[in-house]
């Protein structure tokens, strides 16, 4: 490996700028292969999000992505998950519809924003589906002991705000970073 100036005088090496935004667009083929548990950490890595904030942000990104895929693109109804046999049916439908998916897209945009010393992450997930009646979510929030609806409660519990844009196929979450960015 060639010796570079950076190796000789490391303290003079210019700090690489931290990316401010990453965008991922997943088409039908990508949606069949990529899953939220893998996508979220990768995107947060690219954005160099501080380690202390990663677990919370992984949860938020994964949740919004799964909602976009399952409810937005695959049109699966949450209510089906109310009991054991419903859950099995839900998962079978998920598998079938995903396998048959021809044209769809989910766009995930992560953006760092600062104001003075405070820093936020803005997470936007948009899907190619028809949207839904998001006003209903506030009215019909699932009770704490229900098996469905846990995801939105988690996002709220993490202190993130969540808004939807009409017709409901776009969700925007904002999360304030707790850990200061390194360097």
């Amino acid at each position: 490996m060639p010796v570079t100036a950076a190796h000789l005088v490391p303290e003079c090496k210019a700090a690489a700028p931290v990316p401010a935004r990453v965008v991922a667009r997943l088409d039908a083929a990508a949606l069949k292969q990529v899953d939220a548990a893998v996508l979220a950490p990768r995107l947060l890595d690219l954005l160099q999000v501080p380690a202390g904030d990663r677990p919370a942000l992984c949860l938020i990104v994964a949740e919004l992505f799964n909602n976009a895929l399952e409810h937005g693109v695959l049109r699966l109804e949450s209510a089906l998950k109310r009991n054991g046999s419903g859950m099995s049916r839900y998962l079978e439908l998920r598998r079938q519809r995903l396998a048959r998916l021809r044209r769809a897209a989910v766009d995930v945009t992560l953006e760092r924003r600062t104001r003075g010393r405070r820093e936020w992450l803005r997470i936007r997930v948009r899907d190619s589906g028809a949207g839904f009646d998001f006003a209903r979510l506030a009215r019909d929030a699932a009770p704490a002991h229900a098996a469905h609806g846990r995801g939105l409660a988690l996002i709220g519990g993490l202190g993130a705000t969540l808004t939807y844009r009409r017709p409901g196929n776009e969700a925007v979450a904002r999360y304030e970073l707790k850990q200061a960015a390194a360097g």
């Binding site: 939220a36 548990a37 677990p55 919370a56 949860l59 994964a62 949740e63 799964n66 998950k81 009991n83 054991g84 859950m87 099995s88 998962l91 998920r94 704490a144 002991h145 229900a146 098996a147 469905h148 846990r150 995801g151 409660a153 988690l154 519990g157 993490l158």
Partner: protein
């Protein structure tokens, strides 16, 4: 991903490994089925020591198990919750719903 069930004094221990999300549903069901039906079992203890990833769908499955177990007059508890797993459970205030030991 999910492994053995060991019956002890009235407690069946179910160890969950790896990802505990929707993809684990079928395996999870296979694991809890027999203990749920056994007259010798009165509690299902879910050992979370080797869970690498837990999200809201995993929480949903635990709550669902709690309901199913209740109708069989059995209880559910979680043990060995650590790291990121513990974080998710704490954020969700899950200890109020299922005992965490």
């Amino acid at each position: 991903m999910l492994n053995d069930v060991q019956a002890a004094t009235g407690k069946a221990r179910i160890a969950v490994n790896g990802r505990f999300d929707f993809s684990a549903h079928r395996d999870f069901k296979r694991l809890y089925d027999a203990p749920l039906r056994s007259g010798a079992v009165n509690e299902l203890e879910i050992d979370m020591a080797k869970v690498e990833y837990l999200d809201s769908s995993g929480l949903g499955m635990l709550l669902m198990l709690k309901e199913i177990a209740r109708s069989a007059n059995k209880t559910v508890a979680l043990t060995n919750c650590r790291g990121a797993t513990r974080l998710v459970l704490d954020i969700a205030n899950f200890g109020q719903l299922i005992p965490i030991r």
